[in-house]
Symmetry: C2
Subunit: 270 residues, 2 copies
């Protein structure tokens, strides 16, 4: 069994290049101790939590490695900003490589998963964050082997409230939205790097969510409620979801899926 962490993006700035391995994003994200488990299966196709499921980047990875079936399990919500597609692609690739003795390095598999994500427009930085683990600042975009990161060893319990989905593809394909996100993402990546702490991560992430135009009123209300209770909160990119320190009590006032997880330095476990 191969486990890959969810990746929670706090700040991002997309960078699209005609070559998928040069595409990616600047930004800051972190891995948590919830994620996706992958197991080789005898059958064909992709099973997610017991049901047939089409996850395009996983299909690309399986095809590339000449494998036909994989079984995935996760407690995470799908399409809500937890990098489930990236985790699924990376976990599937490593699981196949290990069980079939393909002798691929972790980096080779991670590059393959990143490329698959870019081609499907399902993510631009999750696989890089998941490959490294921890609080990961992506300071040069690209596939894991072409990108550059700084990792910070924060360790904190994070509370999550999930209100709904946002399609990564829609935001990435709308040129005006993308330009706003691009500018704000670069600005607040720089701001975070000036003082890489938990407090500053929440501050920069919230300002990014506002200036990029991605934050809506309901998300803003939730964040305000957490802050009134003495906690810190910001928006999960890209989902209609909030991540917080000491957010549990405030979250009780709102409907939506709630869970907690710890930031972990380990993105990949076998």
């Amino acid at each position: 069994m191969t486990f890959v962490s969810a990746s929670v993006t706090a700040i991002f700035s997309p960078f699209i290049h005609e070559r998928p391995e040069k595409s990616g994003s600047y930004g800051v994200g972190f891995t948590i101790d919830s994620g996706v488990e992958a197991r080789l299966s005898d059958g064909d196709g992709i099973l997610l939590n017991g049901k047939k499921f089409l996850i395009s980047p996983v299909e690309i990875v399986l095809e590339e490695l000449d494998e036909s079936g994989i079984t995935l399990e996760t407690d995470l919500p799908i399409s809500c900003g937890f990098g489930v597609s990236g985790a699924s692609a990376l976990a599937s690739g490593i699981e196949v490589s290990v069980r079939r003795n393909l002798g691929l390095s972790l980096m080779e598999v991670a590059d393959l998963a990143h490329k698959a994500e870019v081609l499907c427009r399902t993510g631009l930085g999750d696989v890089v964050t998941q490959f490294h683990g921890g609080v990961v600042a992506r300071i040069k975009p690209g596939s894991p082997s072409k990108s550059e990161v700084r990792r910070y060893p924060f360790s904190q319990k994070i509370d999550f409230l999930v209100l709904g989905k946002i399609s990564t593809r829609d935001v990435l394909e709308d040129e005006i939205k993308r330009e706003n996100v691009r500018k704000a993402g670069k600005k607040y990546l720089k701001e975070f790097l000036k003082s890489p702490s938990t407090d500053n991560l929440f501050r920069c992430s919230k300002l990014f969510a506002v200036e990029s135009g991605l934050m809506d009123d309901e998300i803003a209300d939730v964040i305000e409620a957490v802050e009134s209770g003495g906690g810190m909160a910001s928006m999960v990119m890209l989902g209609r979801a909030v991540f917080a320190v000491n957010g549990k009590k405030a979250f009780d006032e709102f409907k939506g899926q709630k869970f907690s997880a710890k930031i972990t330095t380990c993105g990949v476990k076998i």
Copy 2:
């Protein structure tokens, strides 16, 4: 609390440069799920398993970060090839950085720990292996930020038999010994990379131990006993110790400390 894995070196080739950050080693090693736990302490000095202990690289790291005391716990044997000094230095550095909110990246702390190890001649590649985690081939020597590695996601239970100590410093300071190790290490790193599998790791590591002149008769006897029983075994660098797959039964014929651990992709946990 910060945990850093033991690093078991299977193949190595020392590379000494006048600048410590350019010194390091080529080779192959792996991290296991036993290691060193570090906690900030109120008192002065280094406590290892409850006793005052002088671990020079840890002292250098503490001094550099302006901290006076740390408490370390480990089940591992000291000076037997498990990279306890490197794990102690890295775990101490991360623990101080996290608890004191120094905002250092994992790489900055790892570079500091590596430099301290090189200056004390206690290790040349352990910190690089521990920083990355997994089966780590070091293909360009140096500190974590200057070196290059390939990581492989093997997952295996490994049995260990520890017969005694070898001083890393003695081997590194004897020019003839060092030259033999240097040549054999580079040769078998290349051989391993041709087919990075568990079987080939044991094969290359054993040939390296013989050709480098580091294997003595007793170690050879233990390895033969494991192989007669259908297992695979080689010598831990640098310790009078053996690591094996399916070695437990054969180890029973020999005196020495015995334990088992799993290869892990996670070198650092907080």
